[in-house]
Structures are given as structure tokens and as C-alpha cells.
């Protein structure tokens, strides 16, 4: 199947300035990753904060240009940001941000902001836009009187619905959801997630779902990539990964999911310092926190290697671990 969007060996390096004239320290936010999204399906991206998952989302949207590698949408390389071509492409690629209040203009009504993409891209005449607005409100479950209010007058869940309606206004082919529910109450999280998956199924939208919450990712994703310090360490079918994670980091994450009843995996608590992307350890980036690290892990960086079950794992000891858990 031809992917809708693909990232091929993409890296993004920020220069951290030390002092005003200081030499920049390169910070590899995203380091040589390859991912793809098929039409109508969802790719989940998990990892702790600072692992580069948000940067991956911004690269996928074309909001940033990779320093190496390439991002292609429908087979064509992304145009450079802020050109006319880039602007008109925005209607196909939309973002659902983490903080809906920050993403909304507090001086305009929610309805005006949901309809704004239609104005920007010159879609429909006045009457058609009004019909479209009503349909969008209905889709996300907002009443017209709620939409006539200003952002701060709505609840967190309502704001998230409004932001979602705005992202859906131009009927995009791909939606990047960056921690879309992490700011919401757990009870509301489920509602928004269900609405998101329903709309996705009904409209055949592809999605990149970025989250640190593994349960949510498992619920929505058709494929999952686990990231650590700008790299993908394990990637594959969500059920396989969550049932039997191979990479020690993925194991630690999965073991931290609260489950009712006795645990199948022992709880693994990560030791050592949280990762700093500006000071990347040599060899396998995870080795300082890995209880299974060997001399090889400290010097040689493991590649992302495909396994028999279709999963890909970047760990020198993956074979041993697979045998042990089988």
C-alpha cells in the first residue's frame, strides 16, 4: 500500500546557544527516523517528554523542515514553510494541539474560529460555510449557543472539541494529534477519544497520535512507535508491543501501566538521570538507565532491526529477551 505520508531517515537538529557569541551545541531532537502513515489508519508515537515526539509531529505536518532525510506527502516532498504552496497544502494536514485554550484566539467567538479555515482557503460561499459550520458543530457535539461564546467561557472538553472542529473544517487527509487529551479530566478524555476515533473511521482520516499515555495510544493506534532520545527504539503492532514489549525501555513503559489483577510483567523502575537530548550518551542512548546493558551497549549503537513477527526493535539483546519471554 502507498503510504499517505512518510518520513525517510529524517533528522532535526536544533542549535542550542551558549552565551551570545558561543558556539552552538547541536541538539538532535529527532535523529534519523523513518515512519509512515497509511490513509485512514493511525500511527501512535509514545515516549517521555523530550524524546522528540512533538518534533516528529511538526516534521510530519511540514511545520519544520528536516535537516536531513525527507518528508513526503502523497508522494511529493513537502514544500518549504510559509510559501504559497505550503499554505494551500495546510488544508490537507491539520494539527490538534495539546492546549486548546492557547491555540484559540481569545478575542473571537469559537464559531468564527471554526469557520476561519474555510475563509482562509476560500471554501464555499457564505451560505455553504454556514451549513458546513453547523455540520462541524454537530460532528464534534457542540451546540450553536456554545459556539457563539468566547474560548474562556467554555470547559476544557468543549474547547478541545472546538479545536478539533477547526482542524476538521477543511476535510484534511491527515490529522496530527499532539497529546490531545492530556490536559483533560480522565472522564472527558474517553469521550473525546471515542469521538476522535468515530470521526476518523467515518471520514477515513489518517492520524498521527502523539502521547505519553500508553493506554490511550493502544486504544487508538493501528501501529505504534516508541521513541527514546530522538530515535525509534521499538515499532510495530500495538497489541504485540503492549502484550510483550522487547526493548527494555518499552518494557519499563508498559510495566508502568496500571492494570487490575496480578501483573504479567514485573514492574520495572527506571534508574539514572532522565535523558538530556543535548548530552546524548555514546552507544545505545538508553544504556545508562538499562539494567541489562553490556559493554557492547556502551560503545555500539543498535540498529532498528525487523523481527520475524514484523516488529522492529533497536536493542543488542533483543534476541535473548525474545527467547526468555517466549
Amino acid at each position: 500500500m502507498i503510504p499517505l505520508l512518510s518520513l525517510d531517515g529524517v533528522s532535526r537538529i536544533y542549535r542550542q546557544r551558549r552565551g551570545l557569541l558561543g558556539r552552538g551545541v547541536p541538539l538532535r531532537a529527532v535523529d534519523d527516523i523513518s515512519l509512515s502513515v497509511a490513509p485512514g489508519l493511525t500511527l501512535g508515537v509514545v515516549g517521555e517528554s523530550g524524546c522528540g515526539k512533538s518534533t516528529t509531529g511538526r516534521l510530519a505536518l511540514g511545520l519544520e523542515t528536516p535537516d536531513s532525510g525527507r518528508v513526503t506527502f502523497r508522494g511529493a516532498v513537502m514544500p518549504p514553510p510559509d510559501g504559497a504552496e505550503w499554505r494551500s497544502q495546510r488544508r490537507h494536514l491539520q494539527l490538534v494541539p495539546q492546549d486548546p485554550l492557547g491555540a484559540l484566539d481569545r478575542r473571537l467567538t469559537v464559531a468564527a474560529q471554526i469557520a476561519e479555515p474555510l475563509l482562509i482557503h476560500g471554501i464555499g460561499n457564505r451560505g455553504e460555510r454556514e451549513d458546513r459550520l453547523a455540520a462541524l458543530l454537530n460532528d464534534v457535539g457542540l451546540r450553536a449557543d456554545q459556539a457563539a461564546r468566547y474560548p474562556h467561557e467554555l470547559s476544557g472538553g468543549q474547547r478541545q472539541r472546538a479545536v478539533l472542529a477547526r482542524a476538521l473544517a477543511t476535510s484534511p487527509a491527515l490529522l496530527v494529534c499532539d497529546e490531545p487529551v492530556s490536559a483533560l479530566d480522565v472522564s472527558i478524555q474517553a469521550q473525546v477519544i471515542n469521538m476522535l476515533t468515530d470521526l476518523q473511521a467515518a471520514r477515513g482520516i489518517a492520524m498521527i497520535f502523539i502521547s505519553h499515555d500508553l493506554k490511550v495510544v493502544r486504544q487508538v493506534s493501528h501501529e505504534v512507535a516508541v521513541m527514546y532520545l530522538g530515535r525509534v527504539v521499538e515499532q510495530g503492532d500495538p497489541d504485540a508491543i503492549f502484550a510483550d514489549p522487547l526493548h527494555p525501555y518499552a518494557r519499563a513503559l508498559v510495566s508502568a501501566i496500571p492494570v487490575p489483577g496480578p501483573r504479567r510483567l514485573p514492574r520495572i523502575v527506571l534508574s539514572g538521570d532522565p535523558p538530556n537530548p543535548a548530552d546524548r550518551p555514546a552507544g545505545c542512548a538508553f544504556h545508562p538507565r538499562c539494567s541489562l546493558a553490556t559493554a557492547q551497549c556502551r560503545v555500539e549503537e543498535p540498529g532498528l532491526i525487523a523481527r520475524a513477527d514484523g516488529r522492529r526493535v533497536a536493542c543488542h539483546r533483543a534476541d535473548e529477551l525474545a527467547r526468555a519471554s517466549a
Binding site: L61, R87, S88, A103, E116
Partner: protein, 285 residues
């Protein structure tokens, strides 16, 4: 950064008495400026040679010339009314020019970053580190004086304050939040800045304008006092003070009336500006 975070409906506690008094004075001055032609009893160049250097009513003067007359028998009240209009028009025009210029440059710096921003920042530094009066005098020396040039020149005063604010808030809005979201929707920069960023920072910019307005009044009156601003036969508040200075010993009223208006107006606008700033945006200095 919190400058954009304005309460949509600020609490309705009444302003202090001093601010109300300031508002009353400002309103009065504005009405006088608008209806100057209807209010003035005489023309500003109308001579009454029989009534020269007449003191104001209550100091030996007559009801015909409430604030007295000058050396040529011109009515001080009439000249004062017209001076108020001219000084206010210049100050409003100049403040508006500075606000538009500064905001535009600030937005350009925030949008393009890189060398455009460096150039704008350098100009801001330059403007802030040179006494404006000296620059203005230099321009007037080289170009001579005309009213449009004078207003334009005054319009260069205080732009850096608007530029700093507009740049800072636009960068904050671009980095996270609504402006970034609108860009991501595919909007052109004109839409982002004019329809979204500008309304969000307008309150802060208006406060800044309120703070620089009295400074422009002082600058204009200072230059006019030195004889380098508004030229006769036109008259402005500073111009009247400069003229009245010649008659300080014989007819101090010529000078005192416009001086009082200058002081009261700058005082009232400053009070209002300080109050607005405390209410709307305590981060602004």
C-alpha cells in the same frame, strides 16, 4: 508575555476621584479643540489696538477679553482656544504615526526575525539612546520648518516603545498559541497579524500611546517655545508661552494661561495612562 492576557471583562470598580477629574479635564479640552471655531470670541489675528496688554477679568480687565489681551490687542482666550486645537492635533497625529510605524516595525521584526529584526533592534537602540530633542533640532536645522514636516518629525517620537511591545508580544504569540495555530491553518501573515495579533495586543498599545501622548505635547510645546515648532501666524500652546515670555514683567497672563493648560493636560493624560496601565497591563513600564 502576560501582556496579552487581559481580562475580557475587567471588574467594574469605579476609578479614583483623581482619574475622574482627569477625564473631565481631558473631555473638556477635546471639546474645546473640536469646537474651537465656534467657541473663540475673536479671530486669533484680530487686533484691538485700543485694548493692548489688557489684564484678565478680575485683575482689572473687562468681560470682553476674559483672559486679557496681548501687546497687539489680540484676545488671549481666543488664541488659547485655537492653540489647544493645534497642539492637540499635532500631538494626536504624531502619536498615531508613532503607533502605526512602531507596531509595523515590531511586527516585521517578529515575523522575519534574522537580519530584519537586528536592524529594527538597532534602530530602537539608536532612538532610545539619543535625546530626541537633539535629533529633532538637527532635522529642523537641515530642512527648515513646515507643518507637515513638523508633525512627521513628532511622529518619530516614541515609535520605539510601540515597536518593542509589538515585537515582544508577536514573538510570544508566534512561539506558542493562537498565532502559531492560525499560521498552521494556512493563513497569510496579513491575516495573522491584523486580524488576530493586533486585536489581542491593542489594549497594551493603547496604554503605551496614552503614556507617550503627554510627552509629545511637551516636546511640541518645547520646540514651539524655542521658535522652532509651529510658526506664526499660526499659534500653539508652546508658541504662546514663547511669545508671552517677552512680556513676562508687564503682562504675565499671556504666558500663564497656556502654561496652565499644558501642565494640566499632560498631568491628566499621564494620570489616566498610569491608571490604565495599572488596570490593564502592570508589566508595561
Amino acid at each position: 508575555m502576560s501582556g496579552t492576557v487581559l481580562p475580557a471583562r475587567a471588574g467594574r470598580s469605579a476609578p479614583p476621584a483623581l482619574v475622574i477629574a482627569a477625564l473631565v479635564w481631558i473631555t473638556m479640552i477635546l471639546l474645546i479643540a473640536v469646537f474651537a471655531d465656534q467657541l473663540r470670541p475673536f479671530g486669533i489675528t484680530a487686533l484691538d489696538l485700543k485694548a493692548r496688554l489688557l489684564p484678565p477679568l478680575g485683575f482689572g480687565g473687562t468681560a470682553q477679553h476674559l483672559l486679557g489681551t496681548d501687546e497687539l490687542g489680540r484676545d488671549v482666550l481666543s488664541r488659547l482656544i485655537v492653540s489647544i486645537r493645534i497642539s492637540l492635533v499635532i500631538a494626536f497625529g504624531a502619536t498615531a504615526i508613532a503607533a502605526v510605524l512602531g507596531t509595523t516595525l515590531g511586527f516585521l521584526a517578529a515575523h522575519f526575525r534574522g537580519w530584519v529584526e537586528q536592524v529594527v533592534l538597532m534602530l530602537i537602540d539608536f532612538q532610545a539612546s539619543m535625546p530626541f530633542l537633539i535629533l529633532a533640532l538637527a532635522v529642523l536645522a537641515f530642512f527648515g520648518n513646515s507643518l507637515p514636516l513638523f508633525v512627521t518629525l513628532m511622529g518619530l517620537y516614541g515609535w520605539e516603545r510601540h515597536a518593542r511591545i509589538a515585537r515582544g508580544l508577536a514573538i510570544a504569540a508566534n512561539a506558542q498559541g493562537y498565532a502559531a495555530a492560525i499560521r498552521q491553518l494556512g493563513a497569510r501573515p496579513s491575516r495573522i497579524y491584523l486580524r488576530h495579533v493586533l486585536p489581542n495586543i491593542a489594549a497594551t498599545l493603547i496604554v503605551a500611546a496614552t503614556l507617550s501622548f503627554p510627552e509629545v505635547v511637551l516636546l511640541e510645546s518645547g520646540l514651539s517655545f524655542l521658535g522652532l515648532g509651529v510658526q506664526p501666524p499660526m499659534t500653539s500652546l508652546g508658541n504662546m508661552v514663547g511669545y508671552g515670555r517677552e512680556y513676562l514683567t508687564r503682562a504675565p497672563w499671556i504666558l500663564l494661561a497656556p502654561s496652565a493648560v499644558i501642565v494640566l493636560t499632560t498631568l491628566c493624560v499621564s494620570l489616566l495612562g498610569d491608571w490604565l496601565r495599572d488596570r490593564l497591563d502592570p508589566t508595561l513600564s
